[in-house]
Amino acid sequence: MTANNTPPAVRLEGITKQFGDVVANDSVDFTLDAGSIHALIGENGSGKTTLMSILYGLYDQSEGTIHVNGEERSFDTPRDAMNAGVGMIHQHFQLVMPMTVLQNIILGHEPVENGLVDEARAREDIEAISTRYGFDVGEHLDTPVSELDLGTRQRVEIVKSLYRGAEILILDEPTAVLTPQEVEGLIELMEDLRADGRSLIFISHKLDEALAVADDITVLRDGNAVGTVSASETSEEELARMMVGRNVLFDSDARETTIGEPVLEAEGLRVIGDRGLEKVSEVSLSVREGEILGIAGVQGNGQTELVEALTGLRTLGSGVVRFDGDDISAMSRRDRIEAGIAYVPEDRHVEGLVMEYDLVGNGLLGNQTIEPFANGGFLDWEAVREHTEEIIEEFDVQPPNPDTEAESLSGGNQQKFIVGREIGHDPDVLVASHPTRGVDIGSIEFIHDRLTELRDEGLALVVVSSKLEEIQKLSDRIAVMYEGEFIDTVDPSDVTEEELGLLMAGQRLSGEDEVSGDGMTEGEMSEGGVSEGRMSGDESSSGVET
């Protein structure tokens, strides 16, 4: 791939990084050829981000050397790395929300003329970059970042790196926040950047994306580089095996289940969001015993508010929620937990776990009024510890130590623990919001299996996800949510991913009217339509129709 005389853009040799007793990277070698895209894949906690943080000057390596363009380098800070042409797009964007796009891009690298910021020059430079790669960023230069959708924010981040002269770009799980259509756009962009002679490192745990975009793929497992393969000579199965260390089944067939009585029902729900805007409009649903209702949608279209209304975390604007036929619309969160409504929350770091508690402390979360953990007002920590050990054992939580603090677990293990704890309530209904977001492939499989098992045992489940594959695989019915409404409910075996993607973008399947009704064609939909939909989902600027 490389011309013989060009040194590799990045060469990492024998990189080892220890945090206390934990070895995050164990003598990892990694070579990024100049002008290529190199995917770095691995489960959560396998050391991908740590390795790249070392390259980017966020961490010091314990051992090993870094070469950039053939020269040995050592970066103490990201600024050093940037000066050497290395840029990183973090998974969590590093943007200042109230500041405009222009201000964000030049922040810390302002062109100065006579001691003043030369905005005109900055504007010119950014527009040049923007036009070159066909970005829409140039049009938003004076818009505050908070008003942009996630896809555009990501492009702002990329322009920011390019503006700072990055020749080597590290993208940390860039597709995690995007719709399928946006992912395509990103892949095209990455190819353009490569054609322009830049070198890219693409961190991911999605195998298909790595295969689609990368020239080479390096797999990390438990901090070790398992191997580097050429994308053209490998397969998803091989990569999955390298990542997990064993064979992985991709499609578990949906088993036939007996569907029973409705357990959780909602009628005409209206829910007001944090900013006083109606986020859920006239939604009705019903989940029966032995059934998984999937709720698909781009984030910000009201799924969060709907789920919070069902689980008792948000009061209803109007409408009725019924559980086993009883009206529970006014029931508190506490009473709903005790009645048997379990909830795997959207954000495990914020709601699902207390990060500074150990697993025993977290094992009690939500259980603090339930026997045998609570005896009157007193807590029985021994009982909680036993229960925690059971969860750890049954859900294969690593490390299997109940005294570990929640925050030191990898995302997948945190999620397995939460799922285990919620199922431990012995619920009648499980509402799971993005149950596998940011979770490694081995744990995804595990969690999916547990969810389908529960369904087979007769539980009613609601699964909210923006991952189409997940929704299609798990659901018995899929409701697609767009701007606070279910725009369609479909049978997973009757729709393709593309059709679901279009529904998520607010477009009804052929023959039906579009929800937005502004006559957008399918082609426009894939670029602007999704952003448009998301923005109005966030801001409700366009008003939500009934």
Partner: protein, 377 residues
Amino acid sequence: MSATDESGARSLLDRVSDRLLDATVLERFGIALASILTAILLGLLMVAAAGYNPIIFLNNLIVGAVGSERVLARTLRISTFFIVTGVAVAVAFRAGVFNIGVQGQFVVGGLACAMSILWAAPYLPSGSLGGVGLMLIGTVAAAVSGGLYGAFPGVLKAYADANEIITTIMLNFIAIGVVSWLITNPFREAGSTNVQTEPLPANVGLPPIVFGESGFSVVGLVLTLALVAVVAVVMTRTRFGYDMMTSGYQASAAVYSGVDAKRNVVATMSFSGAVAGLASALFVIMYQGRFLEPASIHTYGYDAIAVSLLAANNPLAVVPAGLLFGGLNSSTSYIQIYSDVPVQLIDGIVGIVILFVAVPELFRMAANRATTGGEDE
């Protein structure tokens, strides 16, 4: 090269913070002791530089805290007040509620304690049994009124979104003003020129054991330690404590687990205020034997914030922190009386001692934050 110097300095900092994070309780105690000694050494240098004899100063510092039965009794007495008010602050801070109003709750509780005892006295026998009954009445009155005075800003925060830091500070002024007026006018001792209530009946008071000195009783210290133990159990082994701590660590996770955030704020403030009320019951029954002009009372409720922070808001650690504050406070008055070292210099040295003890703990907390922030994924 400067680059290597910089990374050398950084890795030293890393090592220090790693070490601090790994420190056991005993080691942390050792670090605190070493900090006190270092700070005192530094203070002695300042005393010498200012032209006073550091040896005499050091002698006064020690003698003023533990040098005689009388000063030791004073140190322990002041310490008990710091400990109980410190616990009041600690429980609220642990729950993420910033109760700056302990002083106000203390003042309200103190008046309620004194007045309820005075009002109830005629109805109870005058022997020691009656005394115990009166003390129980006074203690309950203090805890309830302190609790209610804490609940009020709690309600304002929960249901009207009023910042508790601001409301509790304002309520401190209101408490002092109103109680001061009450003691100056309706509740004033008949015929007295002093602003104070009638004295409590003779059968009210804690028995002097070990220390003959009035104003401190070992019983008071024992009760204080018992209260600390009870609060520690409430915080770690009850549902109420778990709800409070979880709210303090991560409010959204507490709500997720079924905690009613509004009710929890009110409950926390009531609990914290009730403990502040207990501090004032001790103050009235063990020490003053009546209630005085509240503006003249030492600002235990404010110092308690420093005591609690020094103890990292851990009720058990409030005990050594309260003893340190009590000792320094006692020494300060001693040195002021028995030497010509200016009070500003003494206060400065006391400040250095507190700073030195607090800084390693602050570093520990900062290192804890920094480490957790870095290990995303």
